[in-house]
């Protein structure tokens, strides 16, 4: 299979990097949702295998 065929079949798309998004890194953009998610995980943990 050629590289182009492999890329076309891949489920992972080729994504352009946008450096302007870096300014949002480290910001808590969903404070309430994140707090609730942390609370839920603290209570129920991860799935038992």
């Amino acid at each position: 299979m050629t590289t182009i065929e492999k890329l076309n079949k891949s489920k992972v798309p080729i994504v352009k990097i946008d450096k302007s998004l870096n300014k949002l890194r480290g910001k808590n953009l969903f404070p309430e949702k994140l707090a609730k998610a942390n609370e839920t995980i603290a209570k129920v943990g991860l799935p038992k295998k």
């Binding site: 992972v12 998004l21 953009l29 949702k33 839920t40 209570k43 799935p47 038992k48």
Partner: protein, 147 residues
């Protein structure tokens, strides 16, 4: 995903993704954010309308741009990019309200056969994680990439 999706851009760490929803209400910028949780191997998935003026996201607004399936397919697609970069982590997701959580469930249900090829999928029910099953109601979802 077989559904059509929007093209998107990402930050260099594949934790932030941006795309533009286009429909009857115009062009609306959407941001998908994977935030590391207190337990370091879990990331919270959040997304909503991005307000460039003040740098905030609104995940409660109902945009009504007639493209909810395309948006969900786009968000699902970012999971592949994110988990390629962060292969060993869990992704936690829940809607901003019950209706939106139900929309996520419908999105997973519609694409379940395809999703379970690449991801372990769990739903939270009565404070216990269960393997995701069609027709069940869940309060939250947890996924992990299979490699």
């Amino acid at each position: 995903m077989k559904l059509s999706r929007y093209e998107y851009t990402a930050d260099g760490h594949a934790e932030l993704f941006m795309f533009t929803s286009v429909g009857p209400k115009g062009a609306i910028k959407k941001l998908v954010v994977y935030s590391q949780m207190l337990q370091n191997d879990i990331y919270n998935l959040g997304f909503g309308d991005y307000n460039e003026d003040n740098g905030t996201i609104d995940d409660i607004v109902i945009t009504d741009n007639n493209d909810s399936q395309k948006i969900l397919a786009t968000v699902a697609s970012t999971l592949y990019v994110f988990t390629d970069k962060h292969p060993d982590v869990w992704v936690y997701a829940t809607g901003s309200n019950t209706a939106r959580t139900r929309l996520y469930r419908m999105g997973i249900t519609t694409n379940l056969e395809e999703i379970i090829v690449d991801f372990e999928v769990y739903g939270l029910q009565n404070e216990t994680w269960h393997e995701f099953k069609k027709g069940e109601d869940y309060q939250a979802f947890l996924v992990k990439r299979k490699f």
